[in-house]
Amino acid sequence: MANLVLNNLVKAYGKTEILHGINLDVDDGEFVVFVGPSGCGKSTTLRLIAGLEEITSGAIEIGGREVNNLEPKERDIAMVFQNYAIYPHMSVKKNIAFGLRSSKASKAEKEKRIQEVAGILDMVDLLERKPDQLSGGQRQRVAIGRAMVRDPAVFLFDEPLSNLDAKLRTQMRLEIKKLHQRVGNTIIFVTHDQVEAMTMADRIVIMKDGYIQQVGTPDDVYNRPANTFVATFIGAPSMNMIDGEIVEGGVSVGSEAVLSVPIEGHEKGMVTVGIRPDDLKPDIGTPVLKGTVTVCEPLGPETLLYVETGQGEVIAKADGRTAPQVGDSVQLGVDLSTVHLFDHKTGVALTS
């Protein structure tokens, strides 16, 4: 077990730089999730940590030891891949034992360790099977088992749940989280699914175009997004972004009433107002926008409303039993404490 430090990590292919100086401290035993759209550099970062690709500049430390020039096997890491990458011609047991082949433990100790891991992952019965006799979820468990058996300092997960169906994904998500609570190793988990990130992580690292956008707890990134990208990326449906203007006493949104949110220290002028659909409700709170419902999406307990307003289309949430119908005019209101303000040009959050 160990901490992990990324120090000004840069990766370039030829002249194209795709990671522009990543800095991150991961504590011992922490569960950190890298999340971002495809091509944001999250998987590359993981592969750099694993040693599957060479870093262009910067440094990686695992447990206080610089590992820049070490082979993957010398880094004390284990990795779980998206398409499982279990060896198809070996039984489950051999697959798991493969992780131990370089260790110096005695045969009996290895056997004990394999049984222990199989027990934790609930697959003692599957040990003699071949991978093609397993379901997707079971294969992924084998892959996790192979990683676990070595008890590495850091676990690396590269989108391990993407190939599973929705139900299994939820289940494996829970299992991995429980596993982390039980074994307590440091985990770096890469995903493009913000729900996975929110549900599993101690801390989330949100990346875009090779830059870290924000690092924080799920609560931080959801309630205090650093910029418009994070605000719209985290949370589904994504946050409504409305043009507004800072005026005397608050922010004006279109022709509606001025929202008396704190604006101390900000210059007058254009501003982006962010309101989550969960916070935007018909006929409740301070009125912000008026419009016509164009589409309703009933989810059961609540209904998503797509509302055409003077400021463009916004998404609001209404109580499922008393939701307005398509074509209805609605007055949308918000609790002022949940309104986010962002710089209109740079998208950076305005804090007061």
Partner: protein, 279 residues
């Protein structure tokens, strides 16, 4: 009902075509086999008749087994074929792995250069090869034949295998790297077992031409001790008189090892195909 009938008639048509093909392909073999058991006169009187009590004889096989070193010829052919196949598969797979796995300068050029060998018949270089063998003192050794056949088989092997190598998932190899395997163990322990069906294909493709070749044994290794079976059978073919019994018997015997090798590889081949399909 209707669709069932068309399916059936289609099945019959397909089988008819396949059976016709099998008959055409096996007919010469069949003729060789039946005539090898007939007396010389019977061969010429009725080439297509089955041997009967009158015409049946072991004469051909007796001549072959008593004459010269037929077992030695067998052994030579077998050694040359098996060793050549081993080298073709080993070096072909290694080169294919390098081409598919590593990005280096000239990767594509190298791949094309190797593929070029498929199009240029190696016999064009016979004179140069003979010269080379004379200078290196390899004339009249089995090694000369093995080297030539390995060179002849490599282009196609590299071409076919590199296609297959590219399909092996990168994650699998990376998982191996993280598990502490070096590149050689990744190749031998992870990639090669997955290549078995492809390797069987390559082996079958290369086996027959090597086994049947007359050209290079005649030129590079005509000495008695290193004669291959095909070359050895030629002693029965004279300029004026040909001992057809013996020739046909020799050819009949020559079929056996090839069938054995083919059965070994083809089981592998079919296993590979079905395991892929069921998955």
């Amino acid at each position: 009902m209707n669709s069932a009938r068309t399916a059936l008639s289609r099945k019959i048509a397909v089988h008819a075509v396949l059976i016709t093909y099998v008959v055409i392909a096996l007919f010469p073999v069949f003729v060789i086999l039946i005539n090898s058991f007939k007396t010389r006169r019977a061969i010429f009187r009725e080439p297509l008749a089955l041997p009967n009590a009158d015409s049946f004889t072991w004469e051909g096989y007796q001549t072959v087994l008593n004459q010269g070193d037929f077992l030695q010829y067998f052994q030579n052919s077998f050694v040359v074929t098996v060793v050549s196949l081993f080298f073709i598969l080993l070096f072909g797979a290694m080169a294919a792995f390098a081409l598919a796995e590593y990005r280096f300068k000239g990767n594509t050029v190298m791949g094309l250069y190797l593929a070029l060998g498929i199009m240029i018949p190696i016999r064009i270089g016979t004179v140069a090869i003979l010269d080379l063998m004379v200078q290196t003192g390899l004339v009249n050794t089995l090694m000369a034949l093995i080297l030539v056949y390995t060179a002849q088989g490599l282009p196609l092997a590299v071409f076919i295998l590199s296609e297959f190598m590219q399909q092996v998932s990168d994650d699998l190899k990376n998982a191996g790297r993280i598990d502490g395997l070096n590149e050689y163990t990744i190749f031998f322990k992870l990639v090669l077992p997955l290549m078995r069906p492809a390797m069987a294909t390559v082996a079958v493709f290369n086996m027959i031409p090597i086994w049947n070749d007359l050209w290079f044994p005649l030129i590079l290794a005509p000495a008695e001790s290193v004669k291959t079976l095909t070359l050895g059978s030629q002693v029965f073919i004279g300029q004026y008189v040909t001992n057809w019994n013996a020739v046909l018997a020799a050819l009949g015997l020559a079929i056996i090892p090839v069938i054995i090798l083919y059965t070994l590889f083809s089981r592998q081949l079919i296993r590979g195909i079905t395991s892929g399909a069921v998955k």
